[in-house]
Symmetry: C2
Subunit: 417 residues, 2 copies
């Protein structure tokens, strides 16, 4: 994998040239892209040229952009055959900000259909027989395969944290609204949130902080043991035995290293919020994709069509009630987070499932997306089969930096284990 | 003016034919569009054909669509020369829902540049020497001039309520998130809200309710006297003397007709919220328009460029603090609204200002947009010069129907005065 921080330092100091970097990337893509299939399209020569001219804190760094995010210089398919020829007029805001900071768009990465569940062709670089997760499949797989050190994704349920976990990298979804959503194809306007992928926590803090225009950079800083809230029992689903065991080992390691770990049983409102997430998502998706549904219903996958039909059956009143539930849960969440720095939960029920037919489950992520909370996959653990197991750190609204610092501290524990 | 309810009833009963309606519209446009200039583009023949095939609750009704809202079958300029040739791939969600309900898109209506302050060529149909207000200039003017009975607009500060007030029609901005924002060009993702224009309050309730999929229809219902909170003193700006006098007459008339009218002095947090609105708007606009700023800075107007420069100087921390202020003010607003059905304030400081150089002031609207509250212009009053004076009704979050009912009751009082 390519460390964004390391590459930025080496490019700046001149110990790495743009040409040497893009030669390496060319090599990695030639070697692995035929099997990984992270890209919808890519253009190393174009990125190399842009990198040669670039100035700014991300100067020269290759960027993967999930294909539900508009790019003005190339087709953006949103993962749907309906948009096979769609060419946006301008870049999404976050892409423009990335270019302004010096990043070079290397390519558009595979997303599931409209960032929902119908998978693309991407495979998990850690084991090609397994899903990379989704919906930001190509962005996570591409970082994991060494194609680019930074990538953009989006999360409506668990589409940043989960693929990061499955691919063994850091994935960070900041507080809702901190990255500009303009130019991202909406699935659910109350939930869709931009996120960033990178090799490690310090790398993702570096990249996401620059794009958000905030001081999230934490490399060089000594992280102190955080106050961790261990969400237990898991209210939404059971974790696999290997994940349960991993979490227990992380707990012990964190306590040994000085962290306070408190078991937190989520109040009942969070169960209601879990259901509200689906109501809000399905209701909004049905409206957000109304044009596509009327234009080309036969080019919508059965899994999405089923969700859109479910969404169409949700009344405005049921949706409004779900939004009220979400608001109540956010107040309970704010109270909860006065006692700990981060919550810790598995990022997913277990390691990446076998096969490409499903991108896995977002049950461990949905409520935190609904809360609008910063959520981070902390990489480092593997199961007996050598597949990554991700731990999720969730922070209070606006506590993005604190979440990243706690995640970095946890990451060090995981690497010691 | 064309009443949407009346036209829908007559089309359904067969006392009005599609051809007769579109002949009338053709005539109105031929007579007044050269001076009013509500449209960026229009196509009566196309709408007539669509209306002839249409089914649904809005079957055959001509619709004006503000040109910051995507249409898949025609260019969408966002009011900017940068997008003179931009052709979106698909309709915005709200346009797709309108077509699904049977509405026929008659044309794209003039918006100020990116729905901010730089005016387009539209004139006020009530007096051509005056601004129609903005940013939804063409949608409001077109309803007022009888070009269409329903139109879509957006509000970030006061861009629905103010032009409705200046043009003497009903304009309704529902609770934030109730109409699907997907496919609307963002100026500020925390603030931009879709709204609807129509001749009267019952008409706008009919149209907006269908698009939102909610039971907002109030025609035929006997409105009972509401509990009105009169926001006084005005915390953000002074109203003109004619507006002050009009509001006092409305208060007396409402009390005579049985309404309880309570004077409400807004708590100090609302002054902070007023400032927070601008911080959030400018910060987000600077990010939302990053691509255009980098692509064609010379094709951005001086007034917008100044705002974008101000936004670029706002730190992430200042923005986050403004969002916290907004959240505090929303809690205070929810408390306030337990005691009244609606707040009443002027929709604007006075009648439409003379000239086209400015679209007038949104000082009376911004805080309510920031609250995400339903806000309605109630038409009916005029000043001595014959220019409309609008009264604004603001409801609690989610109390859209109650706001419309109270507004309809007020409208009857205004028509009696």
């Amino acid at each position: 994998m390519l460390s964004a921080l390391d590459l930025a330092r080496r490019l700046e100091s001149g110990t790495l040239t743009v040409d040497a970097l893009y030669d390496e990337i060319d090599g990695a893509i030639a070697a692995r892209e035929p099997e990984v299939r992270a890209f919808v399209q890519h253009d190393v020569a174009n990125a190399r040229a842009a990198a040669g001219r670039a100035r700014g804190p991300l100067a020269g760094l290759p960027l993967g952009v999930k294909d539900n995010i508009d790019t003005g210089d190339r087709i953006t398919t949103y993962g749907s055959p309906i948009h096979a020829e769609t060419r946006p007029a301008v870049d999404a805001a976050v892409v423009a900000l990335a270019r302004r900071a010096g990043a070079a768009v290397l390519g558009k990465t595979v997303t599931t259909e409209f960032a929902f569940f119908q998978p693309g062709p991407t495979r998990n670089p850690r084991n090609l027989d397994h899903t990379p997760g989704g919906s930001s499949s190509g962005s996570a797989a591409g970082v994991s395969a060494g194609f680019f050190p930074l990538a953009l994704g989006t999360q409506t349920g668990g589409s940043v944290v989960r693929p990061a976990a499955f691919c063994g990298i850091a994935g960070f979804k900041p507080t809702f609204g901190r990255l500009p959503i303009a130019g991202v194809k909406y699935f659910s306007w109350s939930l869709d949130t931009l996120g960033v992928f990178a090799a490690g926590v310090a790398d993702v803090a570096f990249g996401a902080g620059i794009l958000a225009g905030r001081d999230w950079r934490i490399d060089g800083e000594v992280a102190t043991p955080p106050r961790i809230g261990l969400v237990e029992p898991q209210p939404f689903a059971e974790a696999d035995p290997d994940m349960e065991a991993a979490q227990e080992r992380v707990r012990q390691s964190a306590e040994r290293a000085g962290a306070s770990v408190t078991r937190i049983a989520l109040p009942p409102i969070f169960r209601e919020a879990f259901a509200a997430h689906q109501t809000i998502q399905d209701y909004e998706a049905t409206r957000a994709l109304a044009a596509e549904t009327d234009l080309a219903p036969d080019r919508i996958s059965p899994v999405l069509r089923e969700t859109l039909e479910a969404g169409a059956a949700i009344s405005g009143e049921a949706y409004d009630a779900a939004q009220e539930t979400a608001a109540s849960a956010r107040r309970a969440f704010a109270d909860l987070m006065t006692t700990v720095d981060v919550l810790m939960t598995p990022s997913a029920p277990g390691a990446a499932p076998l096969g490409l037919a499903s991108t896995g489950s977002s049950v461990f992520n949905r409520v935190w997306t609904l809360m609008g909370a910063p959520a981070l996959n902390v990489p480092g653990l593997v199961n007996d089969a050598g597949l990554p197991l991700g731990m999720q750190a969730v922070g209070a609204i606006g506590a993005d930096r604190k979440t990243l610092l706690a995640g970095r501290w946890l990451e060090e524990r995981l690497r010691d284990m």
